[in-house]
Symmetry: C2
Amino acid sequence: MKHVADIDTKTDRGFALDDGVLIDDAFAVINDPDIDIIVEMIGGQGIAKDLILKAINNGKPVVTANKALLAAYGNELSQAAAENNVDLAYEASVGGCMPIIKTIRESLVGNRISGISGILNGTCNYILSEISENGVAFDEILAEAQEEGYAEADPTLDIEGFDTAHKLAILNSLAYGMEMNLEDIYIEGISGIDPMDIRYAKQFGYTIKLLAISKFLGDSVEARVHPTMIPSENLLSNVGGTLNAVTVTGDAVGNILLYGHGAGMMPTASAVVGDIVDIARNLISNTRGRVPMFSYQPDHIEKIPIIPIDEISAHYYFRFSALDRPGVLSKISGILGDLGISIKIVHQKDRKTKGAVPIVMLTHHAKEAHVKQALAKIGSLDIVSDTPVLIRIEDQGEY
Amino acid sequence: MKHVADIDTKTDRGFALDDGVLIDDAFAVINDPDIDIIVEMIGGQGIAKDLILKAINNGKPVVTANKALLAAYGNELSQAAAENNVDLAYEASVGGCMPIIKTIRESLVGNRISGISGILNGTCNYILSEISENGVAFDEILAEAQEEGYAEADPTLDIEGFDTAHKLAILNSLAYGMEMNLEDIYIEGISGIDPMDIRYAKQFGYTIKLLAISKFLGDSVEARVHPTMIPSENLLSNVGGTLNAVTVTGDAVGNILLYGHGAGMMPTASAVVGDIVDIARNLISNTRGRVPMFSYQPDHIEKIPIIPIDEISAHYYFRFSALDRPGVLSKISGILGDLGISIKIVHQKDRKTKGAVPIVMLTHHAKEAHVKQALAKIGSLDIVSDTPVLIRIEDQGEY
């Protein structure tokens, strides 16, 4: 290692560097003709982007873990990398130490990938696991997680699902040969999750996880991040704490699952070192661009549209707070029936809270657009207090 | 694809080949100067070995799924590959479509690997899962599995743990930089498993799986294949049917798990195609030996001894068939105590069968040599009928 660049050269990071290694000018590193590989660990979309583009233009391969940058500027970066015939590696950007990038890019090259579903944010998984196991409220766990360092001081990026969406955008690009598209991914975080719904989910044999889900539909893609009810016997349901897991569905492999630490200093370092060695092997072999950055050859990457969330169809969980009066259920189910939404299970067994009883339902397959119309109508009934709760269910296929 | 060679060119395989593609002389393929990559799918250790060595000597890279051959002749084959600077790829040999070879060889290159544990044989996992879920007897399930094509007509290689051991030998070599050593792996199959023990395991919160286990001990290795009790909340416990999974423990990643179809035409094809593309990329890049065949550079591969099974220590499950008389438990526990084996739980609650009652015990950490001495003594007591049952428990560490 020739240089470590940090604008703050004073803070003790807990390890010793030889004299002259630590400098404060990152551009000096990128312009140093003796340096073969650049590792960008700054994060964010400002200086990191400038540095990476400059390194690529200088013909230097780059290793990064910067998912936010890739999700936002992946098309531009991959074009620059291809034009300069420079390797840009990013295994650490998704799933920490799990080799999900290498697996899709290299091992599954013989497959047409039709779906991805994953737990890709350790903070959210930790919070949902704690609520599920110990019944504590969201805010309490979040405060605890912040204290213990599992959650950032500003947890929005994690909690509201944006970090998960960044990762899904990258995986979609790799899996389906589509241009990076973060904007059209539907994103819903976990801040609205009520412990009551986690308890109901359990009763029905489900666990609630924040999932990244995408499906290849032939000439379009379904891509969404939201709290999801999955069967409790599903391996993903058993991924606890801050751990991550991702399932890839391919026509030859069926399902394949990777599981491991999705964040943290050492797991991230493991992925970064893997990338550095990969690039070093390319340098020794005098080869560049051996594997295309986003799996598909640049001229085979297409603009594949992501369908609006209203066009998906799924199984749904609803919870209504309704007055405890005769005829309420018939009114609700009438509205659902009129919109073609067929009910699989209804539960209405709890005691009154503030004069209202929770009515819980699971549906058969229904169109999201119809579901939203129905919930809007039901929510406006004077016998229904509070906004109806909707959680999507994924219980098709093996995991 | 230029040629498919099979001594049987008559049987219809269900797909069409162009005229002249199917031939009956495999050596003609290997000697054809127009052919760049050889794929060996014959299996066995006879002609397959000759073909692979000849191909390597002809400078042709080879893709194989032949774990039995690699486990027996891996050292010879890797030496030949290194001497001729030829790539020999074998992703399909372990875990079918799961990229466990690539993950250890490439992604985990920054880790010191300290352990492996895996479900690597679909037939055994199917049989154990069926016994566990439906309580059917071993022989019945095996017959069923043979009918459905999940088990071979001669199931010895699978059922007695040899196939799993072949795969463990390969993973050990990759993970620890040790010479291939199949002979010293302790191997115990599942044919002796009694549904009664699966039931008791469940009561104690365990599931019985045929596991491949290895641990790096610094200057030696522990390596064994046997039915193993693992905590039911462990992800490996939830790997059902014919599926495979493997956990690798590394100093940076902690634990990482891969899960998928370990056998079958299409999952195996997925791994083979991955290898072919990898080699094709090397050919296009004009590079060979980019990644060392067994992860470590050939001159860094050492003879690392596998310790005898008697030298391991573990938690144990015992089941004794004892006469229902006062003093029996004290006699048995006295023998265990004398040998330093400390009991954690005793159960003695079932009704008599043939005048004997099952006494079931879980131990704290104990040395296998002491356990064997104790069981021999206990087995020879006249108050104990039948040979005592011993099942090793793995409940340390996260999975």
